[in-house]
């Protein structure tokens, strides 16, 4: 049996994703100061998700993670649907974390990222070096969560389309 960090069971996929997108957003998010409701993209994403991928088991909640949908083949397939590839690293880390999480429960799995707008899919498997990266990510999330004040926002190109934009830069 491998050793797993005990905090990891309370971390969700969005936290892992946000760690690679923006630390300020992550800080606000984990403190319940969420802005996703302000985003048309999030609305659109939800709508598309509700209207597509029929016949799958959708929004599968396992502990602290919530997977877009799951297919049962020779191993469990984790499917995540994303809008664009701009934040690909965050998407990959998010699904790697899901695989890692299921692993910790003794379930073997792989992941498939869907980019319906680009008509692309990408298969992801968890390698040994990814495990180390996930552990580091979890530690870093714990650290950001513990900060008394939010990390100072740093303007990047992606900020303009972020639901947290006004909060960060007003």
């Amino acid at each position: 049996m491998e050793n797993y960090l005990e905090e990891e069971l309370i971390i969700g996929g969005i936290e892992i994703n946000y760690l690679y997108v923006c630390k300020t957003k992550l800080w606000y998010f984990v403190r319940g100061i969420t802005m996703e409701q302000e985003s048309d993209f999030v609305d659109l994403g939800k709508f598309l998700h509700e209207k597509s991928y029929f016949g799958e088991e959708k929004e599968v909640q396992i502990g602290s993670i919530k997977i877009d949908f799951i297919k049962k083949r020779d191993v469990i397939e984790i499917h995540e649907v994303k809008r664009g590839k701009q934040m690909e690293k965050a998407h990959i880390m998010q699904v790697l974390y899901y695989i890692y999480y299921l692993n910790s429960l003794g379930i073997k799995s792989k992941a498939i990222l869907h980019y319906p707008k680009l008509k692309e899919i990408k298969e992801i498997e968890l390698k040994e070096n990814n495990k180390e990266e996930i552990k580091r990510a979890i530690k870093e999330i714990e650290y950001i969560k513990s900060l008394k004040e939010p990390p100072e926002p740093i303007y990047q190109k992606i900020c303009k389309n972020c639901a947290y934009y006004e909060l960060c830069f007003i």
């Binding site: 969420t34 004040e149 100072e152 830069f169």
Partner: protein, 322 residues
């Protein structure tokens, strides 16, 4: 889709049939596009079905009710979906800590005073209230802060009055009931502005009942009162000024009522049309590098407060630049 505030002035019936909300009045039945509604302001005598309320609650749409005189009565404030216990704790901490509370109370008043100054400048009067702001900085109690504010306001009304047409002098600020037309107009607009601020707070994680300048028990949504210090001069007074100086609102838009004066139905209609237009008007926001509506400025003020409360950035009240 840009959502809009819906105003119901006529009498009628608001109900739901399947997934559509209808408003039916003497002129007929009209479906309302729910996804396009931001909040609803009800001035008419309207019956509402519980099914309609369920649906509006589900969509997070607040309803605000006004009485026969056009004054705010109360809100249907749907169950909140945005929660941050962390922010609540910080909000309360800033209330309990005397210095932190005083700092915020002063900032709201400073915001109010600077916007009054700006208004006067727009009304061609160059008076500055810097001596009052100095006095404010030396206050050690909320009551002292309130006292300074009261004196500035009296002075502000006096100076504003010098620019107003004879038919629409404030003379003295009177409420419940307002004694003349200008007082009636200002009260009506303030009464419409207050729930607009409530809607904005509803859409944040801020707890609207914990406030700093006003006591949390003063009114149900006392934080909206705090914020109104800034938006009353910026939105309500400016609009009142324009309506009477451009002759859009005239004597005929008022009626006598008992010991006071009130807007009549037609007057309310005209004022509300202009108010809604005003809230949708956009200004260029330099910091955000985009256009934002006047309504959105209220939300941004709430965000600034959030940042102050979590220790990211000291709150600096909005002063109009437009």
């Amino acid at each position: 889709m840009r959502k809009k505030s819906l105003t119901l002035l006529s009498d009628g019936y608001l109900f739901r049939k399947e997934n559509t909300i209808y408003f039916e009045n003497a002129r007929g039945k009209k479906p309302l596009a729910i996804e396009g509604i931001y909040d609803i302001y009800i001035y008419g005598k309207v019956s509402i079905s519980s099914q309609a309320l369920h649906y509006l609650a589900q969509k997070g749409i607040a309803l605000h009710f006004f009485n026969h005189y056009g004054y705010y009565d109360g809100s249907f404030y749907p169950r909140e979906s945005l929660h941050s216990g962390y922010l609540v704790v910080n909000q309360v901490e800033h209330y309990l800590d005397k210095d932190k509370r005083l700092e915020l109370a002063k900032l709201f008043i400073i915001g109010g005073i600077k916007n009054m100054e700006w208004n006067l400048l727009k009304f061609k009067n160059k008076t500055k209230f810097s001596s009052y702001i100095e006095e404010l900085n030396n206050c050690n109690k909320i009551t002292e802060v309130m006292n300074v504010e009261g004196r500035v306001r009296t002075e502000y009304y006096r100076l504003w009055d010098e620019t107003l047409p004879d038919d629409f002098k404030i003379v003295k600020r009177t409420r419940r009931p307002p004694k003349n037309e200008m007082n009636a107009l200002i009260s009506f607009l303030n009464s419409r502005l207050y729930p607009a601020i409530i809607t904005e707070l509803y859409n944040t994680q801020l707890t609207p009942t914990v406030s700093y300048l006003h006591e949390p028990h003063e009114r149900r949504f006392s934080l909206a009162l705090d914020l109104s210090e800034i938006f009353k001069p910026m939105i309500a007074d400016r609009l009142a000024n324009r309506l009477v100086k451009q002759g859009i609102i005239q004597k005929k838009h008022f009626r006598d009522d008992l010991n006071g004066v009130l807007l009549n139905k037609e007057g309310m209609k005209v004022v509300l049309e202009h108010f809604n237009k005003e809230m949708d008007k956009t200004v260029n926001h330099k910091k955000l590098k985009k256009n934002v509506s006047k309504r959105r400025l209220i939300r941004l003020e709430a965000y600034k407060l959030v940042k102050h409360l979590v220790g990211q950035k000291r709150y600096e009240p909005l002063v109009a630049w437009f």
